[in-house]
Each structure stands twice: as C-alpha cells, then as structure tokens.
Point group: C2
Chain length 239, copies 2
C-alpha cells in the first residue's frame, strides 16, 4: 500500500502521482486528505526541514522508502509497475519527456507567480500579465508543438513512447486539462494546431479507471491555489 503525502486542497504536482496510481489501479492512501491527515503532512514537512526527508512534497512512502520529486516518483512507479517502456532507451525517453513536461509546468506556474512564490498573485499581477503574454505567444506553442511532433512520429500508437500509455502520457493529459482550465480563451485558439495532443487527452480521459477517478471526489477540482489558475485578466487569445 502506497502512501501519498501532498497538500490536500490542490491538484498540484501530487496530481501527476495520483493519476499514475489511479490509472494503474495501485492501492494508495492520500494521507493528507484523511481525517487528521493535514497534521501528519505538517509533521512530515518538519522532518523535511530538518533534512531527514526530501525538499518538498509530493512524497510517496512505501514502508521505509520515501521518494520525492514527481519525476523520480513516476520513474519508480514506472519501473515497478510497467508504466513506461522497460528497455533502457524507452526508460530514458519516458524520463526525458517527463522532465520536459516538468519544465513546461514550472513555466505555467510562473505565469501567475513571476516574481516569487512567497508573494500573493495580487502582489505581482502586472508582472504576471507580461509574463503570461510571452508564455501564450511563444512558450506554450513551443512546448505543445514539441509534444505534438513526438506524437506524430510515434505514429499509430498515439502515445508518447512505446505502444501503450506511459506515465508521461498521463502527465501530458493533465497539462492539457490544466491549460484548458487556466486559459480557456487562449487554448481555444491554440488547440486546433495540436490535434494529436487533444486526441491523447481524450483517450486518457476515457480509460475506464481514469474516468472513474476523474468523476470521483478523489479528483480535486482545479482552483486558484494550484499550479493552473484561471485569472480571466491573464487569459487572452493570441493577437
């Protein structure tokens, strides 16, 4: 039984782990969402500050093993449960795609927090407008274009690496879902250029286990405390 430790009120980076656990039907406890769980998360955060645990959640715990960093957790789950190709090239490829998605995610986060994660959005709103304009005009199309071409070259499988979905496909699903939530107007303009990503998103959303998860109350709704935030003033279609 895995134990996931992550902030209980946002999808955040923990969601990439939840999606893998759910899609692979792996039993897990979402500890901080259980009664009294926030106290357990905070206790773990104090251990983290003392250096006995990694830098920041999500943490995945299994017995004495504690893993952090989303991509490392997914790498581990991928190897344990076949959620990525098992040959060396495929293993590296999945990890590399995941780290590129992590870079993309950080840029998405920084659209609303360009000056500092310790400040409120309202304290950096002017800068956020400027950063988001460049993000929607250049960075988002560049990343999406890259993943679209990876899917194009993958051919009929429709997945990023290998002949079935991997944790990287689940993560790309989540990124598109989040972008649609955060920037509905801008994405309406952008999406037609990336039909393979749109098709992958639909395919992942329709996986029976994922569909059940997404419809359940285990799936936290997107909100303005997470990575993907809908601030209408930032959501402008590209001129």
């Amino acid at each position: 039984m895995y134990e996931l430790y992550y902030w209980p009120e946002i999808q955040g980076r923990g969601e990439f782990v939840r999606l893998a656990l759910e899609a692979a039907d792996l039993p897990y406890r979402d500890v901080a969402r259980e009664p009294g769980g926030t106290a357990r998360l905070l206790a773990l955060m104090r251990e983290s500050e003392r250096g006995t645990l990694p830098f920041a959640p999500p943490f995945l715990k299994q017995g004495d093993l504690v893993i952090a960093q989303t991509a490392t957790i997914l790498c581990y789950l991928g190897r344990q449960h076949g959620l990525a190709p098992s040959d060396e090239t495929g293993f590296l490829r999945a990890q590399q795609l995941q780290l590129t998605l992590a870079d993309f995610l950080q840029e998405i986060h920084d659209t609303h927090h360009p000056i500092g994660s310790g400040l409120y959005y309202e304290e950096q709103q002017a800068e956020a407008r400027r950063r988001t304009a460049g993000f929607l005009a250049e960075r988002a199309p560049r990343y999406l274009g890259y993943f679209e071409r990876v899917l194009e070259r993958a051919g009929d499988s429709g997945f990023l690496c290998g002949s079935r979905w991997s944790y990287a496909d689940l993560s790309l699903f989540q990124v598109l879902a989040g972008l649609r939530y955060a920037f509905p107007q801008a994405m309406r303009h952008l999406e037609p250029r990336f039909p393979r990503i749109v098709a992958l998103h639909a395919h992942i959303a329709a996986l029976p286990r994922l569909r059940r998860y997404l419809e359940s109350d285990r799936r936290i709704a997107f909100n303005e405390s997470g990575i993907f935030r809908h601030y209408p003033e930032l959501d402008r279609p590209r001129a």
Copy 2:
C-alpha cells in the same frame, strides 16, 4: 566516445554533464566547440524542432542513442559508470537530489529573467531586482539549508549520497561556484551558514581530474550569457 552537444559559449546546463564526464575521465567530444561545430549543433537543433530529437540541449550522443535533459543524462552516466549509488534507494536518492538542484538552478536563472527567456535582461531589470531580492532572502537560504542538512546527516563521508562523490555532488559544487560568481556580496554573508557545502565544494575542486579540468581551457568562464550572471545591481547582501 561520447559526444556532447551544447552551446559553445556558456557553461549553462551542459556544464553539469561536462563535470561528470571530466571527473569520471570519460572520453568525449564537446562537438559545438570544435571547428565547424556550431553548424552541427544548429543542425541538431533543427532536428529537435522537427521532433526527431528531444526538446533542447544538452544532448549526449553515443552512437544512435541521444539523451537529453541534464538529470536524465546524469542518471544514464551514473548507471553506466558508477557515478551514483547502484542500489535502488541510492539511485532514487541521487536523482531526487539532482532534480532539487535543477529546481534551484531554474530559480537562479529566473532571477535575471523573471518575465521571459525571450526578452533581454535589460527589458526586465526592474522585475529582476524584485525577484532577486526574494531569492536571496528566502529561496537561496532555503535550498542551501536543505543541502547543508543532507550533508550533515550523511556524516563523515561529506557527500550527498553514498560513501564517495556522485554526480549530485559535482552539481552542488557547480551551483555554489555559480552563486559565488553571480552574487559575491550576498554569498559572503550567506556562506558561513553552510560550512558543509563550502567544504564539499573545496573537496570536489581539488579532485585531481577536476582540478586539471577547471584550470584548462575546456572550462568556459562564467559570463553574462549563462545561467549564473553577475549583475552588480542584483547582488545585495541580505539586510
């Protein structure tokens, strides 16, 4: 023989790969720094834009295998050449530390580019001042404090994971070297709080292979096109 493809005029992310190759005495070509090499790098970038290669350099090539994302390259070199613990827990730990250093590095980069990597520093200087103030007051001490505590708990070995240096130690060396270059005044105030990181830096710099590399012209000097940039107006000791 490995082939490294990276921008020829900066240390950048490629330097983390160079340090591993040099410290492990692995033969490699730094392709873009050879005569005509920039054209070869640009050709690879076009392949990358067509989706036949990963998103961005550094690329490490060995025969038909092309690996990108610094942490993935280091993970590969680590497994092939014993540059990280080989047991599963140690393998995951090295990767997790590396990804935390990658997060730190991104925040260091964004001190001078908070609004967009496509804009010049001069176009975002006011925002850079604001972001850097928060970085030096909060983020840098938080990351450095974490790595200091990891070293403290490692005890006598003096390394981040395992009983000898790993690629993560080489990377922490590089991050401290870069911070000293970028923020000499601020680091003079900060460093006394992190004696174990300072000692690790000195130890790595004195490894015979590394010392020869650092004194050679293979080591590109820090400069204001790289990740670590010295802009005196940003370098303020914490109040």
